[in-house]
Amino acid sequence: MNRFEVLTPADLAHAARLLARQGHVALAGGVDVIDLLKLGIIAPATLVNLKNLPELHGIEPGPRGLRLGALTKLHEVAEHPFIREHYTAVSDAAREAATPQIRNLATVGGNLLQRPRCWYFRHPDVNCLKKGGDRCYALTGLNRYHAILGGGPSFIVHPSNLAPALIALGASARIVGPSGERSVELEKFFTLPSVDPKRENDLKPGEVLVEVNLPPPPAGAKSAYLEAREKQSFDWPLVGAAAMVASDGASRTVRDARIVLCAVAPIPWRSPEAEKEIIGHPLDAERARAAGEACVRGAHPLADNAYKIAMTKVLARRTILKAAGIEEA
């Protein structure tokens, strides 16, 4: 680990000015930052500890939805009764993430901004496309955990399982930078490698993610998040799926839906194709199956990850049915 200094500003504008400087990196829970420091993948001169910025703290449920300060811990999201009731997918995703010790430190903001888990990216001796090198080694290398959708020129998958759940519930992010503030739909915040392979989102130098806002769920909406892993205890998802389904009680006709996949693409992957399969129709197992098929219609597997196609279909179907409260036969 290189030598660095740690600054702890108490004022948001000051933090933004510091972060606009070369070699300054934000520190939230530190779970990802410290890993990357140890690997030498980042070597900042200064860490800017965000913990004393009051605007970044707090969970506020209300009639206008839910505000999650960027420094909200994953365990707080997982345990909060209001979130569990009204934003079930978000609560479930937070509970599935990592281990208790990590959920006690990891923050919502840091989770959304964490770097990919790709073993080429994380290898100190590999200078891949994401680190300014000339190629994505996953394309011809070991790629069982890589993208089947939206890949190229880099084939990472986005690591956050919270992000798809938040997007399924229509979240937006409030961001403050040196020249003012903006609010962006979380769905549009993440960027594909075809835009710039070196980053996964649209956070500009100096910008601080202040909070995530969720609107009240649509009337009659329920949500769910499910993931498949290689082992039961903590692990990264091979594939995850978040679904929000708003339907009319008796007829089960779906009025609104959002389906967002995890670990299949370089960004949290919303599937309008799948949503189209169920919106306007009474939901049943057959409709959910069709939506699962639609999710992967445009998929391009690499040598070792075609299994993700079958897995995505099944998981999307199950998540939609779970959100709708329909037992699978």
Binding site: F4, L27, V31, D35, L47, Q101, S233, F234
Partner: protein
């Protein structure tokens, strides 16, 4: 850089390099070697300590992140020369073999029981998912946590 924090009930102030990890601070500056370092990549849980009552991995936490916090390590559990019920559970139920994972297991179990005094076996296993043991096969560890839970509830009821 100056840090001030409380470790096992004692206030401390130390001058440290900003990059010092909490586990190295505890072991090398505070001299408390009960907290172990295993993987140093936040996977194995050997380095688990309590920060303000919540279990964290001290190998992926900077000491400066503990500024103003209360840290509890395995050395801080016993009272008046008597084991904490979780420690006693590990002793009575053979919850360890080589002992490498034990301080981390004990701290994680202490966090669990402070929030959930009567955990089911599934809840115990879920709470310990971030703690790896290469020796015991886990069953004795689960038994140890059950032992501690019963003992602590009995003491409360008494």
């Amino acid at each position: 850089m100056r840090v001030s924090l409380t470790v096992n009930g004692q206030r401390r102030e130390d001058d440290i390099e900003p990059r010092t990890l909490l586990v190295h601070y505890l072991r090398e500056v505070a001299g408390l070697t009960g907290t172990h370092v295993g993987c140093e990549t936040s996977l194995c849980g050997a380095c688990t300590v309590l920060m303000n009552g919540r279990a964290v991995k001290s190998c992926t936490t900077l000491a400066v992140q503990a500024e103003g916090a209360e840290i509890t390590t395995v050395e801080g559990l016993a009272r008046d020369g008597k084991f904490h019920p979780v420690q006693e559970g590990f002793w009575e139920e053979h919850g360890l073999q080589c002992g490498y994972c034990t301080p981390g297991m004990i701290m994680m179990a202490t966090d669990l029981l402070s929030r959930n005094p009567d955990p089911s076996e599934a809840e115990i296993r879920a709470a310990l998912e971030g703690n790896l043991c290469r020796c015991t096969g886990y069953q004795h560890i689960v038994n140890a946590v059950r032992y501690a839970a019963n003992k602590m509830r009995a003491a409360k009821g008494a």
